[in-house]
């Protein structure tokens, strides 16, 4: 899906969204400091597109996905779904929005209740969000099972009877069961073997075409992201580093972090000896991110200015944004 076929209609718009977790300590459990998991993300998600979110573990990409869905309460920021502001709404008022947004989780072993039959797991969302009769629900579940490549007789089975790939298919069936328009996929294939991974990616693409879904695809696998996404957001320590259409990002990575990330991927080609950009050291702790540009401690281009001043988010080309002083 590398051709941009998306209509530029904004589905979800978030502005300066933050998610800080307090760290408490001492005998009075006073707040000592905060883990800044997501620190100021501004972004429009267009209808029908697949937005990839990439970065190293601990960069806040999963927290961003959960915050957007309302699974975590944002510390700060404005979130507008189809133009309606979601902040300050009561849970009851949020219910119609929740059926529009679903999530596919990373670990297909942990995200299914081991004591619940697959059919019941799939039916649950239908009971809450639709007024279908039991017979109607059953036929809907059977239809869902078929759609994700499972069989009707799987209805009465328990999660342990399925392989990892099949469980992820069940997770996908559950996410699409109430016809949402927006799905956050949090590393949906990283726990799977490569051959199964390819099958699941194919299924996700087919379903997107059929149901006109919008995906936010959180992943650390840059190969999968290139294959599946239209636009890609690169995150580092809770902040936005670069956002660009997929082809631009991979062919012309501009931020030094994106460049390093892309050059670190081992390629399945023998005898290709190009110099890689080496990043020294590890990701700094999100409790105490470095001042100025968060990346300056590992950046090969860092200057004095990077240590003092946080770089502005700016558009360098149509649809291509970065946050860097030196580019």
């Amino acid at each position: 899906m590398n051709t941009v076929t998306t209509s530029r209609q904004v589905l979800y718009s978030i502005e300066n969204v933050k998610k800080h977790y307090p760290i408490k300590g001492g005998i009075f459990k006073t707040v000592k400091s905060h883990v800044k998991a997501v620190d100021g993300i501004t972004l429009d998600i267009f209808k029908g597109e697949t937005l990839g979110v990439v970065g190293e573990s601990g960069c806040g990409k999963s927290t961003l996905g959960r915050t957007i869905l309302g699974l975590e309460t944002a510390t700060d920021g404005v979130m507008k779904f189809k133009g309606d502001d979601l902040s300050g709404k009561t849970p009851k008022q949020l219910k119609p929005y929740k059926r529009e947004m679903q999530m596919i989780f990373q670990d297909p072993y942990a995200s299914l209740n081991p004591k619940q039959r697959i059919g019941d797991a799939l039916e649950e969302a239908l009971i809450i969000h639709t007024d279908l009769e039991p017979a109607g629900r059953r036929s809907k579940v059977n239809q869902l099972l078929k759609e994700v490549g499972l069989k009707e007789e799987h209805y009465d089975r328990y999660p342990h009877e399925f392989s990892g790939g099949q469980r992820q298919r069940i997770g996908i069936a559950r996410a699409i069961s109430i016809n949402p328009s927006f799905i956050v996929c949090d590393e949906p294939v990283s726990a799977l073997d490569v051959s199964v991974q390819a099958q699941v990616i194919k299924l996700l693409k087919d379903l997107q075409e059929k149901h006109e879904l919008t995906y936010m695809f959180v992943s650390h696998d840059l190969g999968v992201v290139r294959h599946l996404c239209d636009r890609v957001l690169v995150m580092y320590l809770g902040q936005m580093v670069e956002l660009a259409p997929v082809a631009k990002l991979y062919e012309n990575p501009t931020h030094p972090y994106t460049e390093a990330l892309l050059s670190a991927i081992p390629r399945p080609v023998v005898g290709r000896k190009t110099e890689r950009i080496r990043l020294q050291g590890d990701l700094p702790s999100p409790t105490d991110p470095p001042p100025g540009c968060a990346f300056h401690t590992r950046c090969p281009l860092a200057t004095e200015r990077c240590k003092m001043e946080r770089p502005k988010w700016r558009e360098i080309e149509d649809g291509h944004f970065i946050a860097c002083h030196n580019k």
Partner: protein, 335 residues
């Protein structure tokens, strides 16, 4: 090239389970030369880790290995328990996938690093500590004196994996087995660790068996590659042969299941189905239920090993078909 240090012949590893005996490894043979890097690839459950554990003699109590594992002239399957302890960690050592579970959380890094030095090299506590600091420097850990006194939970994932590598290299083993050493790490850290392994290997002339499912990692480090499927070796050859002219449909499938980062027009072509269970009875070629080219013969007979070139062998009936087509083709073209 140099002589081989490891010769495995017809290795079979079976597990006794409640449902009878199942074979995880079904008669594999390969050899490893000094200073060579061999990658074993395949999906989870194909027997690659069990092969490594069989070499190390670290299998669970209900397992039984047959065949022979010749290491420096000794068959490791016949070696006594006590003697094996002297070989393990000293001449053969292993790097595990999860550095957090492989390190003991209740001992300092220094203690765990000095232990093999004191046991195998009979160093004093002081000398071992000094050697430990040197080793940590070698694997690129900053402030080694401080790290020696820290516990594993105080280190990051990449740092822990470096400690694991330092422990594995402590006694200068001639064979190092790395079981998915970078799977749990981020790509930037993975690149650092792969570079480190390559450098250390060159420096110490260690032979390396690397187990992985990431074809990218294989291309980066391997001299030779073994592809395993359901307990059998289905293709083996030099890294060039496997990547440039893969023969077995499963190898081809593996290569086209991973989206290529550099190719915007990459066509994903997944292998249908999943790996069979260990206790599943499959006649003929064990890949035939998932193979797009399966023929009548594949269902009935297990294919034998065909050598394509000096450094490339495949177990697939398609090879024979191609050969006979080639043979039939020759005379007509001559006329």
């Amino acid at each position: 090239m140099a002589q081989s240090i490891l010769d495995i012949e017809n290795l079979v590893t079976k597990f006794k389970t409640a449902n009878g005996e199942v074979s995880a490894v079904r008669g594999i043979s390969f050899s490893l030369k000094k200073g060579e890097t061999l990658c074993i690839v395949g999906e989870s459950g194909c027997g690659k880790s069990i092969t490594a554990l069989s070499i190390m003699g670290l299998l669970a109590g209900n397992a039984r290995s047959e065949g022979s594992i010749n290491f420096n002239g000794k068959n490791l399957l016949n070696v006594k328990h006590e003697e094996m302890r002297k070989i393990r960690g000293n001449e053969i050592s292993m790097i595990f996938q999860e550095p957090m579970t492989a390190l003991n959380p209740t001992f300092t890094v220094g203690f765990q690093l000095c232990e093999p030095l004191m046991i195998h090299n009979k160093l004093s506590k002081k000398a071992a500590f000094q050697k430990g600091i040197e080793l940590l420097k070698q694997v690129g850990i900053p402030l080694p004196e401080k790290r020696m006194k820290q516990y594993p939970h105080e280190l990051s994932g990449g740092m822990r994996q470096r400690v694991m590598i330092a422990i594995a290299l402590a006694c200068n083993p001639s064979l190092l087995i790395a079981d998915e050493p970078t799977t749990a790490l981020d790509v930037t850290i993975q690149a650092q660790i792969l570079d480190l392994l390559n450098d250390l290997k060159d420096e110490f002339q260690t032979s390396l068996i690397m187990i992985t499912h990431d074809m990218g990692v294989v291309a980066e480090v391997a001299d030779r590659v073994i592809v395993m499927y359901a307990g059998e070796i289905i293709e083996e050859g030099t890294a060039e042969a496997i990547f440039n002219t893969p023969q077995h449909p499963y190898t081809k499938g593996l290569l086209s299941s991973v989206p290529n980062v550099d190719d915007p027009y990459f066509k994903l072509n997944p292998i249908p189905g999943t790996l069979p269970n260990l206790n599943e009875q499959i006649s003929g070629c064990r890949f035939h239920p998932r193979c797009p080219h399966a023929m009548e013969k594949c269902i009935q007979h297990s294919p034998y090993r065909t050598k394509r070139t000096e450094n490339h062998a495949v177990r697939c009936w398609l090879q024979e078909v191609e050969e006979s087509e080639y043979r039939n083709y020759q005379p007509t073209s001559a006329v």
